[in-house]
């Protein structure tokens, strides 16, 4: 469903992605991990065209992301995305955050959008927070609201950019629980995270990146079973022992 072929990207002189290739099939959950600055976030932002790339090809459900003729808003409306700092819109109530794209992008009428938003809020256990502004919610609640917002466009795949790294430890699980549920329902997911527990539980594959390169791309059994390179070994031992 998502194919990344020989993608390279530069920020001016800095070579941030180096010849990256991988693919994610329908229903697959892929965890992307690696040290800070290894290009994980940039890679997933390239997948929905938020970051341009200079070389290579990315296709999502048969549509080339880098093709200038591609209608990017239409393509992005099929992929949900979660951000490290939630990025709810602070000037709108939670409910309106979830209705916005339904009305503007999918063309649903206001009532239909509200009904769908209410269902999604119930699903992430936030029904009683619909009329609050994002700043009145805890971090975990904000991220769950952001998941509801991303689901409101009925995406065929979801990208998660370190969805729990800005959260206090006690709030991480409430977000991971929703993500695990999504994975078990068969959502295609690419998750940039350091949560190795999540990876062990639901990932089909693990991609390890370092210095802009995809160093490992294997099943989680191979990755956690020790059949990994020395750089990945070192990374894992660091994040698992501290």
């Amino acid at each position: 469903m998502i194919e990344v072929e020989n993608v390279s990207k530069w920020f001016e002189d800095f070579h941030v992605l180096k010849d990256c290739s991988t693919r994610v099939d329908k229903g697959e959950v892929v965890v992307v991990c690696g040290p800070s600055g290894s290009g994980k976030s940039t890679l997933i932002k390239c997948i929905n065209g938020l970051e341009p790339f200079q070389e290579g090809v990315i296709t999502v459900d048969g549509t080339s992301v880098g093709d200038p003729k591609t209608n990017l808003p239409k393509l992005r409306a099929r992929i949900g995305m979660l951000f490290q700092n939630f990025e709810l819109f602070p000037h709108m109530k939670v409910l309106d955050n979830i209705c916005l794209s339904q009305i503007k992008v999918l063309g649903r009428d206001r009532e239909e959008a509200r009904v769908r938003a209410a269902q999604l809020l119930e699903r992430v256990d936030l029904s009683d927070q619909a009329d609050k502004h994002p700043a009145q919610l805890s971090g975990g609640q904000q991220q769950r609201a952001a998941i509801a917002r991303a689901l409101a466009i009925d995406p065929i795949a979801m990208l998660f950019d370190e969805p729990t790294s800005a959260l206090d430890p006690e709030m991480i699980n409430e977000v991971l629980d929703v993500m695990v549920e999504l994975a078990q329902e068969g959502m295609t997911m690419i998750v940039v995270t350091h949560e190795m527990g999540f990876a062990r539980l639901v990932a089909d594959r693990v991609v390890f990146m370092d210095e802009g390169r995809i160093e490992e791309d294997c099943t989680k059994e191979e990755f956690f079973g020790g059949e990994r390179g020395s750089r990945a070994q070192e990374f894992l031992s660091k994040i698992l022992t501290h």
């Binding site: 992005r76 951000f83 602070p90 916005l100 992008v105």
Partner: protein, 219 residues
């Protein structure tokens, strides 16, 4: 100096002063609304990735910001009738001059406001499938204007005071009206004192409002 201070002079000058105040308020209101609208367009042009648009808006801002307002008022007073082909009166030429002049300042305020919105907010809008224009309209501008409100109002207060410069083309704004009566009746102290109090009170009210809004919109 104050022993023969005569309040009656001010009361009698009331109608003339009120007429002047109407001109001052009209100029302020038109220049604020027109300036913000045109300023928003200019700010979007300045931020555009299309070089020529950005260049044009940049030079517009440079030109107006490096020219004293009084000169701009003069030029428009003489130039607008030539461009239009007929006399249009001092008021219209001044309304145009103020709007175009203020737009340059509002452009910079609005540009800074737009740039104050963090990039991930834009990404969040785009990631939902909104077009860049929808993202600007529904996500960036509403938040940017919130951040800008205090600075926009401060600029409005400056503008309110600057309207007194229209005396150079013979328009009777509040201060000019007060000045006329002062000279006519030889009551300089009363009229100038009254004018100062009116400006002070109105600007103070404006500043207090700005302070309240700052607290209200603090994110």
């Amino acid at each position: 100096m104050f022993e023969d201070f005569d309040f009656q002079v001010i009361v009698e000058a009331g109608p003339i002063l009120w007429q002047g105040m109407l001109i001052t308020l009209l100029l302020t209101a038109v220049a604020i609304v027109g300036g913000i609208l045109l300023g928003t367009v200019l700010a979007l042009m300045r931020l555009s990735r299309f070089g020529p648009l950005s260049f044009l808006a940049g030079r517009y801002v440079d030109a107006f910001r490096s020219t004293p307002l009084i000169l701009v008022i003069f030029w428009f007073y003489f130039a607008v009738p030539i461009v239009v082909g007929r006399p249009i009166g001092g008021l219209y030429s001044v309304l145009i001059a103020f709007t175009l002049f203020e737009a340059a300042y509002y452009c910079e305020i609005i540009r800074a406001g737009i740039q104050s919105i963090r990039r991930p907010q834009v990404h969040a809008g785009l990631a939902l499938g909104l077009t860049p224009w929808q993202t600007m309209k529904s996500i960036v501008l509403p938040q940017a204007f919130r951040n800008m409100v205090p600075v926009l109002l401060t600029q409005a207060i400056v503008l309110f005071q600057d309207t007194s410069l229209v005396y150079v083309v013979g328009l009777k704004d509040f201060l000019t009206a007060a000045d006329l009566v002062a000279v006519r009746d030889n009551r300089v102290v009363e009229l100038y004192m009254f004018a100062a109090v009116v400006y002070f009170v109105l600007c103070l009210l404006g500043s207090l409002w700005v302070r309240r809004l700052k607290r209200q919109y603090a994110i």
